[in-house]
């Protein structure tokens, strides 16, 4: 119960790390039902550019409670990264109602902000 409550509390204003496929599927399902924009950060612990963009993503999550930010470590969830054809890190996938609406490949701060603004309002 405590874990569920913590997860629910964490759902707004932070980047939610999905460490298992169950957690990932659950978050996707929740996001799809909510009609909210979901931004998924595919990242790796050994990727320097991922460490560069990570604090920027945390800031965005704080500022934008209406957007769900998820984080997937490509080594932790290998099959998810394969299914989503992730070739370079970081890759940001934009989802709305279960569909991929956009993506950003690379730690591109400005493009990330621009695309979030675009899909939040659409």
């Amino acid at each position: 119960m405590a874990a569920t409550a913590a997860a629910a509390a964490a759902a707004e204003g932070v980047v939610i790390a999905c460490h298992t496929e169950e957690a990932w599927n659950l978050q996707l399902q929740k996001g799809n039902e909510s009609n909210k924009l979901i931004v998924v950060d595919f990242t790796a612990s050994w990727c320097g550019p991922c460490r560069f963009i990570s604090p920027i993503l945390v800031d965005l999550a704080k500022k934008l409670p209406n957007v769900t930010f998820l984080k997937v470590d490509v080594d932790e969830l290998k099959s998810v990264a394969m299914d989503w054809a992730i070739e370079a890190m970081p890759t940001f996938m934009f989802l709305k109602e279960g569909k991929i609406v956009d993506k950003v490949v690379g730690a591109k701060k400005e493009e990330l902000q621009e695309k979030i603004a675009k899909h939040m309002t659409n």
Binding site: W46, C47, G48, P49, F52, A88, V105, G106
Partner: protein, 340 residues
């Protein structure tokens, strides 16, 4: 993961020393590639490459880098510094005031176990400045706008390559182009007040100028500066490529650098031709670093000249070839377009 383990704060120290900052970045299973303010940084587990333009203090990164590598338990086995001729030599800050100064700076910093050392200046093969005669060479005088290649190499032992099985067939080519075609250079200016991100405009330039077609299988990380100028890196397996463009008339300049296999015409001839057709420059310099011997290096130079021939007419066909102890071979060629 070696050098890729460096925190961003540590990397930032290295870049601060050079006075560069990160504008965008990308990584894959093999390495990280950063686009800096008109410069690039590539970080492999056991190799780091920094390429800068303008009046940055590139070599100032070396002490900082060596100390971070030391903290990770890594010892340097090889250091190479290459550059063309400065377009504005008087504007260069220390230690870039002269090649001699640069070499002295490196010699001071590098540890003694890098015992195979050599510095040399390779003069242009096409003589735009007519006074290339034997007249008592006044060494203080720069050879006009003509382009010399400067190489400093310090090695511990024969180099080990990232792609060890085919190490002797790998090359790195560095191309410098000046006096770009005016019409084509316009493609690297932004529309005034477009209010868009440098990332988004950069991607459009990559597509519109044909840069995206140089290696269609590579992943591109690009950026357009305001009001003009463009930088990009690509990652393709363990190989990188990079382009930087300063399109302003009067001192327009573009550089291209990539890694490839000598066995593949696509890597050398095709990329060379595609890059030259994107910029149609009046002058080109091509420096190729390989691990092959002198004869094979001559053949590399012949391939470069043959690839450019249909895009001419050019003056300059010869090649300089220089061997570096435990550091491979460098070939250098310059070409000047005989316009009208």
């Amino acid at each position: 993961m070696g050098l890729r383990r460096l925190d961003f704060s540590e990397l930032k120290q290295v870049l601060d020393a050079v006075q560069c900052s990160v504008v965008s970045a990308i990584g894959n299973a093999h390495f990280d590639a950063y686009v800096l303010s008109e410069s690039s940084l590539f970080v492999y587990p056991k190799k780091m490459i920094i390429k800068t333009c303008g009046t940055t203090q590139l070599l100032k990164s070396v002490p900082c880098l060596l100390s971070h590598a030391d903290d990770l338990g890594l010892a340097v086995t090889r250091c190479r510094y290459t550059r063309g001729s400065f377009i504005f030599p008087k504007a260069q800050p220390f230690p870039h005031t002269s090649f001699r100064e640069e070499v002295m700076y490196l010699e001071d910093i590098l540890p003694a176990h890098l015992c195979f050392r050599k510095a040399c200046i390779m003069p242009p093969t096409c003589c735009t400045s007519s006074s290339s005669s034997s007249s008592s060479s006044s060494s203080s005088k720069p050879p006009g706008h003509s382009h010399s290649w400067h190489v400093y190499s310090a090695s511990h032992a024969p180099e080990e390559s990232e792609e060890s099985s085919s190490s002797s067939s790998l090359f790195t080519v560095e191309i410098c182009m000046t006096e770009l075609d005016r019409g084509l250079a316009r493609g690297f200016f932004r529309r005034r007040g477009d209010g868009r991100s440098g990332d988004a405009v950069g991607s459009e330039m990559t597509a519109a100028t044909g840069i995206g077609r140089i290696d269609k299988d590579a992943i591109v990380c690009d950026y357009a500066f305001d009001p003009c100028g463009y930088s990009m890196n690509t990652v393709h397996g363990a190989r990188y490529s990079t382009i930087h463009v300063t399109p302003e008339e009067g001192y327009s300049y573009a550089s291209f650098e990539c890694v490839g296999s000598l066995h593949n015409r696509k890597d050398l001839e095709q990329s060379l031709q595609r890059v030259v057709s994107i910029f149609r420059p009046a002058t080109i310099s091509v420096a190729v670093s390989t691990d092959v011997d002198g004869d094979a290096a001559d053949r590399v130079a012949a391939r470069v000249a043959a690839a450019l021939k249909p895009m001419g007419p050019w003056t300059g066909n010869g090649a300089r070839v220089e061997d570096f102890p435990a550091g491979g071979t460098v070939t250098f060629q310059t070409f000047t377009h005989r316009r009208k």
